[in-house]
């Protein structure tokens, strides 16, 4: 898609095709998913072989399969891989078997305030010269612990903190850093988190010292918990709003239409208005505002007429 770099998400055990390939340890299954997404124009291919509610995956099983899996994917496509796991040992093994002579730099997804062995993950980024995802949805606490970001300033401060670490310790340029502001399912967003993510992007976009940094979301999360008929339109309308505040990456299913909607499409206006309903008004609680937003989403879901 024009203006947005797509990280194809089909090699993820949440998808039945990926799950079948994983369960059979069938390299051809993964290769097929890599080819499909390459043909559809994905710019990166996520590799997430973690467990889901339908599948238990032991960490050791991932480590054992990566040495075969990574080269097999690279045999079929030169599109770089985005390695998606919170666990450092996964990345150590994955990067060890990634052939840089076949594909451009991979992505390490992701660094977050809550990660174990964060310093070592940053060293990996430097050692393997990767692009890197940082989670702006979790903040550092002074005692070394972490907590969820509850306002846009927290997300912005976390971004600055990570940028400082990645520039000084891993020699990254801003264009090698991708910020994930965290995209909460709008169906359950009584906490104003969707607005928080957009507001965080807005603050990052406005900072000239962060020019060139990338902004990303996991797009498929957005419409979780809504009827199937409305999901794609909600995702596309979110893209419209995201693009306005600098979104330029998305983790998404390239088999879907991943274009933003025509700016005049009614869904864009409806989503914008609904998210505005989620802003706290004087004298009310976040819960009041959050439920007003959920009522707005419910209205969108129940209106039907979802062509487009």
């Amino acid at each position: 898609m024009e203006n947005v770099t797509i990280i194809g998400e089909l090699m993820n055990n949440s998808y039945a095709r990926a799950r079948r390939a994983w369960e059979a340890r069938k390299l051809e299954g993964f290769q097929q998913l890599a080819c499909i997404q390459t043909d559809l124009g994905a710019d990166y291919l996520t590799l997430n072989i973690d467990g889901t509610r339908n599948l238990t995956v032991k960490p050791q099983e991932m480590l054992e399969f990566l040495p075969e899996l990574v080269p097999a994917i690279q045999e079929t496509t030169t599109v770089p891989i985005s390695f998606d796991n919170p666990w450092i040992d996964f990345h150590i093994e994955a990067l060890k078997h990634y052939d840089r002579s076949r594909s451009p730099a991979p992505i390490l997804n992701s660094l977050a305030a809550s990660r174990d062995r964060l310093d070592e993950m940053i060293e990996l980024v430097a050692e393997y010269d990767t692009l890197v995802f940082i989670m702006a949805s979790e903040k550092f606490l002074p005692d070394g612990a972490s907590a969820q970001c509850l306002n846009a300033q927290d997300g912005y401060d976390t971004t600055k903190h990570f940028v400082e670490m990645l520039v000084t310790k891993a020699g990254r340029r801003l264009d090698q850093i991708i910020v994930d502001t965290g995209l909460t399912p709008v169906s359950a967003d009584t906490y104003g988190m969707v607005n928080l993510g957009l507001d965080t992007m807005r603050l990052i976009q406005a900072d000239p010292d962060l020019e060139g940094i990338h902004l990303s979301v996991g797009l498929s999360n957005f419409a979780w918990g809504t009827p199937k008929a409305v999901r794609l339109l909600l995702e596309r309308a979110y893209l419209n709003l995201g693009l306005e505040v600098g979104l330029d990456f998305a983790l998404a299913n390239p088999e879907k239409t991943l274009e933003p909607l025509d700016p005049g499409h009614p869904m864009v206006g409806k989503l914008r208005q609904t998210l505005e309903l989620g802003r706290i008004r004087e004298g009310e609680s976040q819960e009041d505002a959050g439920y007003r937003q959920v009522e707005g989403i419910l209205k969108i879901c129940s209106e039907g007429d979802y062509d487009g």
Binding site: T52, R53, T56, V57, W87, P185, T226, C301
Partner: protein, 212 residues
């Protein structure tokens, strides 16, 4: 439609104004508080049933749970006065190292809607804190949530610590995106729920046969 049926309908529709109005009206004509409570729970049970078969979705569930909550706020003092206690006491939290809370919050809401007394410990909760809360609140059930594979092992630690410090009396159930029934069996949890509505049924099925 009688008053209690109207109340049940108000919950199903998530109409909090009608739910509160009907609750107040039922109290004003001295309807037994247990009957009023049962109407609310029937409404939420229907929401859970329809959610599981994809007839309704998360927003409807949240709106209904809010209507239930507001009615309960009106009804609670009367229930206390009448000595009617919540059906069960439940503790819920996301395990240590994991900051995700959407799934945990949805389960907490559905449990409240089923008339459970819910103590939400929040996210990133250590095994020791879970165990302390069990000792303090003496719940019937503990719900552990995790979204990451890296934090799933903390579910086992938490189960172990709760068992070690508080014994086997409390039921422990688990849920979250990467969690499965196999994993629940493996770590010695008493059950696994795939979604918020199932978490209500699971607690009832685990506890209903126990001697009171």
């Amino acid at each position: 439609m009688n008053l209690l049926q109207s109340l049940e309908e108000a919950i199903k529709k998530g109409n909090r104004d009608d739910a509160v109005k009907n609750t107040k009206e039922a109290l004003s004509i001295n309807m037994p508080p247990k009957d009023i409570l049962d109407a609310l729970v029937r409404g939420m049970d229907d929401i859970g049933r329809r959610f599981k078969i994809n007839e309704i979705f998360v927003p409807e569930m949240l709106i209904a749970a809010r209507a239930m909550k507001e009615s309960i706020a009106v009804l609670e003092p009367i229930l206390v006065e009448a000595g009617i206690k919540p059906e069960y006491t439940a503790i819920i939290g996301t395990v240590q190292g994991d900051l995700h809370d959407i799934g945990k919050n949805l389960v907490g809401m559905m449990w409240k809607g089923a008339n459970f007394n819910v103590i939400d410990l929040g996210s990133n909760i250590s095994p020791e804190k879970f165990a302390e809360a069990v000792l303090t609140h003496k719940p019937d059930v503990v719900g552990l949530s995790a979204l990451l594979t890296t934090t799933m092992p903390m579910m086992k630690n938490t189960v172990d610590v709760i068992r070690e410090k508080t014994g086997n009396a409390v039921k422990i159930i688990i849920g979250g995106a990467p969690v499965t029934q196999d994993y629940a069996d493996e770590i010695g949890a008493d059950g696994y729920a795939a979604d918020a509505a199932s978490a209500v049924d699971l607690v009832r099925s685990l506890l209903v046969s126990l001697p009171g």
